[in-house]
Amino acid sequence: MQQPVKKNVRFYSRWFRRGAVSEAHGEYLERIRKREMLIVSYQVLIGLMFLVFWEVGARVGWIDPFITSQPSKVVDTIVGLFHSGKLWIHIWTTVWETTVGFILGTVGGSLIAVLLWWSKWVADILEPYIVILNSVPKVALGPVFIVWLGSGTPAILMMALSISVIVTVMMVFNGFNEVNPDTIKLMQSFGATRQQILTKVVLPATFPTMIAALKVNLGLSLVGTIVGEFLVSKEGLGYLIVYGGQVFNMSLVMASVIILCIVAALLYYAVTVLEKRLIHWK
């Protein structure tokens, strides 16, 4: 006869099963917690392997560190930037240009969407132009902005703004049109004016869409800002990348790209926190 298997033989089982209300619940918790832990482990492992391969490869000579740089040099570069006091200036420049760009893009795009919602005439007339503007690669307009606004911050902001505004118009306007027509009918039965329908139903109902637009615009504005900095600036991460490329300092390029990744992730996280705060009813 087979002996019943003794449960909790492994010392870590108890930790995995913490908070369990029954044997079955404990097994379930252990299973999903182990899975979560494995996933995180693999995620970290892939990143570490990449870094190790990069560093070792550069040292042993599998890859040419002159072209690819290497993690230790990237770290040295970041530390150097930090000690020279320039690091924060570059980060700050890119962050505020991006932030201003995506906030202007979201607010401006939403305002235009309100106009289109208000007048079906205007919406129908402008529709083909919006479609065309949406399909134009806004980056191609960079030189135009530089000629019009001078080679400086205004041109960069314009890039960040233009790349996000049309997408916002389309997203938010679609959101407006998806508001349940019967909810609007209810408002009309109260004798509501168009302005009341807008402020009491349509805008708040579309608020989550606007936050979603904010998230999309964050990425787009970052592209606009970086391209703008490539073209005209003397500060910012985009400038560092282009400068590093020109003087063949790949460590500087890689360091800037990595900082850019971190900045983008932090900005995205900030918008997510904002979203949780603002959409409290879900």
Binding site: M187, S189, K200, K282
Partner: protein, 258 residues
């Protein structure tokens, strides 16, 4: 004098491919404090009748009178309840109930207190600060009723307000709504496709024909031992008689619609 009167009302919708006649020569009189149901096959223009009375649509031809005066746009005398509660998910229950008051510019202390009292009376006193997503379907529809009655309308239009609920909730809510509306002495026009619901709740039933809708038959409901309780009404001996008769009339319309 009749509370609501429709005289020779025609309604025709137009679109690119042509005209769709929705109503043809509809005559209707609803007395004050009467509970009238409109029954008919789907697409027969029942809801159109309500939209016309609410002043949200203009009839193609004919006249609609409330208290003897022609309808010109929406009126504070009319309260409209739709199939779904349409509570705004970002407002808590209390502020959802204030919505109509806000729109009408009546959100003062007195009206708001009255609205709060309605919520308490309908058993939602403990849920005033909750959000709609936290409430059951029946509770949500009761909140919608409070929102309608907070505006103190004289005529309440009900557009299939129970059809999205499960059967048990539906019976309970029918009972509550009927009681409340009788107590408040409202004139009620209910649109439904549920024959039993119409018989249980109404003083009078108007059966509409298939499109274009016109009054096909009319029944004054007299049930023994009803006492304004739809639930008791379903037990009345005459209930099945009415049901059978209305069923056969509706089946004719249904066959015609196919």
């Amino acid at each position: 004098m009749d509370k609501v009167t429709l005289v020779g009302v025609y309604m025709t919708y137009v679109n690119k491919s042509g005209e769709i006649p929705a109503l043809a020569d509809v005559h209707l009189n609803v007395k004050a404090e009467e509970f009238v149901s409109l029954l008919g096959p789907s697409g027969c223009g029942k809801s159109t009748v309500l939209s016309l009375i609410a002043g949200m649509l203009r009839p193609t031809r004919g006249q609609i009178l409330i208290d003897g005066e022609p309808v010109a746009g929406t009126s504070p005398k009319i309260g409209y309840m739709l199939q779904h509660d349409h509570l705004l998910e970002w407002r808590n229950i209390r502020h959802n109930v204030y919505l109509g008051l806000e729109v009408r510019g009546l959100a003062d202390k007195e009206h708001c207190r009255h609205a709060d009292e309605l919520l308490i009376r309908y058993g939602l006193g403990g849920f005033m600060n909750r959000y709609p997503s936290e409430l059951s379907g029946g509770m949500r529809q009761r909140a919608a009723l409070a929102r309608t009655l907070a505006l103190e309308p004289e005529v309440v239009l009900l557009d299939e307000p129970f059809s999205a609920l499960d059967y048990q909730t539906r019976l309970l809510l029918e009972e509550e709504v009927a009681t409340i509306l009788k107590q408040e002495r409202k004139t009620v026009i209910l649109v439904t496709h549920d024959i039993a619901e119409a018989i249980a709740m109404s003083d009078r039933i108007i059966v509409l024909s298939a499109r274009p809708g016109t009054v096909k038959a009319e029944y004054t409901i007299k049930l023994s031992g009803k006492n304004d309780s739809p639930f008791a009404a379903r037990q009345a001996p005459e209930f099945r008689e009415y049901f059978r008769e209305i069923w056969s009339v509706l089946e004719e319309s249904h066959a015609a619609a196919r």
